[in-house]
């Protein structure tokens, strides 16, 4: 009883929120520090770009993991952080793009243009980032209220987005399929779980209707 009160104490909830908020900035702080101290080797531009892209993916996957974790394991406490994690995914994807633009192509317009028209892996990455933006913008409570049922529909865009990101990574590998195997199987579980739940619900509904 006391414990439960303590667990839901506003101060603790606030602390949790801040801890996660700051923890999600650590990757950015770390890679900046590494770059600052010349610890990234001969090609820091590529290292930074890759690292930020990886974290965009981890956070996007993280935001997708929350519903299955809540439903399957009863981890209800995570639900509060879903928006923050999703927004951080957008944030890291944006820094990933900024790193690419600044460090790799030096904002040369001609290079950006060929990248966006000829490199298929960049086209799907850019599409994923573009689609993430409306989700970020409408992530607030206000928009949720305003859009009502539409909001849920809109935010289901995250499923095709995650598949675009997976495609982005599939198309940039040269030899080792390890990362793609890992990301792909995690995504397969998380999306598969949702499909399975939905099928079950539908089955149950039709069973109750026919009885």
């Amino acid at each position: 009883m006391v414990l439960k009160q303590l667990k839901n104490h506003p101060a603790l909830r606030l602390l949790e929120w801040w801890l996660l908020f700051l923890a999600a900035l650590l990757p950015l702080a770390w890679i900046s520090w590494q770059a600052w101290s010349f610890a990234l080797g001969a090609d820091p531009a590529k290292e930074i770009t890759d690292y930020l892209g990886q974290w965009a993916l981890y956070l996007l996957w993280g935001s997708l993991a929350i519903t299955p974790l809540r439903q399957a394991l009863g981890w209800t406490r995570l639900q509060r952080f879903r928006r923050m994690i999703g927004l951080y995914a957008l944030f890291y994807a944006t820094t990933h793009l900024l790193a690419f633009g600044t460090f790799i192509i030096g904002w040369r317009w001609d290079l950006l243009q060929t990248a966006l028209t000829e490199r298929t892996y960049i086209i799907v990455g850019a599409l994923a980032l573009l689609l993430l933006i409306p989700l970020g913008v409408t992530s607030t409570k206000g928009w949720q209220r305003r859009l009502k049922k539409r909001w849920t529909q809109l935010h289901q865009l995250v499923y095709p987005i995650s598949l675009l990101v997976l495609l982005h990574v599939v198309w940039l590998i040269r030899d080792s399929y390890f990362d793609v195997f890992l990301y792909g199987s995690l995504l397969g579980w998380m999306l598969g779980y949702r499909v399975w739940r939905r099928l079950q619900r539908r089955l149950r509904r039709s069973a109750s209707l026919s009885s």
Binding site: G41, A42, D43, T102, I104, W171, Y177, F178
Partner: protein, 335 residues
């Protein structure tokens, strides 16, 4: 025979190769003060940066002796700025030791490169297995400073020490049937973690090949050293190709086999994705790879906020020397 690991010695213990003596003395005089800045000077051969405790690879004694007697081939060297040693030994594509650029420097340090031998086979009058010392000993070593252009659209300027490939190959007397020559990297999953990976899509051993006239071209080079010392294991010790007009993946590392053939050999990257990696793999800004435009390259090291982007030259800038080899080929088709 006793298997000796490549010994790591501190730079200060090295007896400087006579050809580079002045340079070394100059560098050592600066050690501990501003050696870093000295590597940016106009001299042709920047020595390793002494004040950083970087590993230097001495190789076997006979090789050290021969390196010391090496000469610089100015005619076949670029005067562009050589990459700092620390980057050359830590930014490697050598998938046998991992796919990350830093993996080979981590995973190859115990790689045994002495003793070493090479099997010569196929269309030659003098096939057989030859020890590295016997292979290299008869030749004067020379240094060439060349541009390495990776298919991933980055490049570096590196000083290699070795022997012209033609000189090396002629001693085996290729027959008139020899139209191609194929080079094979060591296949040793025990030592090479990348060859044990179940997620790799490459076939081991690594094989790349040249047409005979390419192999006999004066620019084709077999390296045994780098930066005035032996090749580090992560850079393909003890024996690797240097083919400045071709993408880096043709520069086969840690070679154990040289085979002369009448027909075009199947090569590693071409087998994996023929539409992406051609047999010739000549540097060509007009033919893009699906993942990289080849029109420009990033010369490394490069500043973060002002990336060092330069236009890629046909044949990596060696067109005057080698373009005639391909005068009858459609380079868009035979990329």
């Amino acid at each position: 025979m006793l298997i000796k690991k490549p010994t790591l010695i501190r730079p200060s213990e090295i007896t400087p190769p006579s050809a580079y003596l002045n340079r070394r003395q100059f560098m050592q005089g600066l050690a501990g003060t501003a050696a870093f800045a000295a590597s940016a000077s106009a001299l042709a051969l920047p020595a390793p940066q002494f004040d950083k405790g970087l590993p230097v690879y001495a190789g076997p004694d006979w090789l050290q002796q021969q390196l010391r007697a090496g000469v610089s081939n100015k005619a076949l060297s670029t005067d562009e700025k050589v990459a700092p040693y620390q980057h050359a030994i830590r930014h490697n594509n050598f998938y046998e030791f991992g796919t990350g650029k830093g993996d080979p420097a981590k995973n190859a340090q115990d790689f045994i490169t002495d003793p070493w031998s090479v099997e010569i086979s196929g269309e030659v009058n003098r096939p057989g297995t030859i020890g590295l010392e016997d292979l290299i000993k008869p030749h004067q070593l020379e240094e060439r400073i060349v541009r390495l252009r990776c298919v991933e659209a980055w490049s570096m300027v590196l000083p290699f020490v070795g022997v012209s490939l033609a000189t090396l190959l002629k001693q085996f007397e290729p027959t008139s049937k020899a139209k191609y020559v194929e080079f094979t990297t060591l296949n040793d999953p025990k030592q090479m973690p990348g060859q044990r990976s179940v997620f790799s899509s490459l076939d081991w051993p690594y094989v790349e090949a040249l047409r005979m006239d390419e192999a006999m071209h004066p620019l084709a080079f077999m390296a045994v050293g780098m930066y005035g010392n032996a090749l580090p294991p992560q850079n393909g010790a003890p024996l690797r190709l240097v083919l400045p007009w071709k993408y880096g993946f043709k520069w086969v590392k840690s070679i154990v086999g040289i085979r002369f053939t009448e027909t075009m050999p199947a090569t590693t990257w071409n087998k994996m994705a023929a539409q992406e990696y051609g047999f010739f793999a000549n540097v060509n800004p007009a033919v893009s790879h699906p993942r990289w435009s080849q029109a420009t390259e990033r010369r490394l090291p490069s500043s973060l906020f002002r990336p060092n982007i330069i236009d890629t030259q046909p044949f990596n800038g060696y067109g005057d020397e080698v373009a005639h080899l391909y005068s009858d080929l459609d380079l868009k088709k035979w990329f």
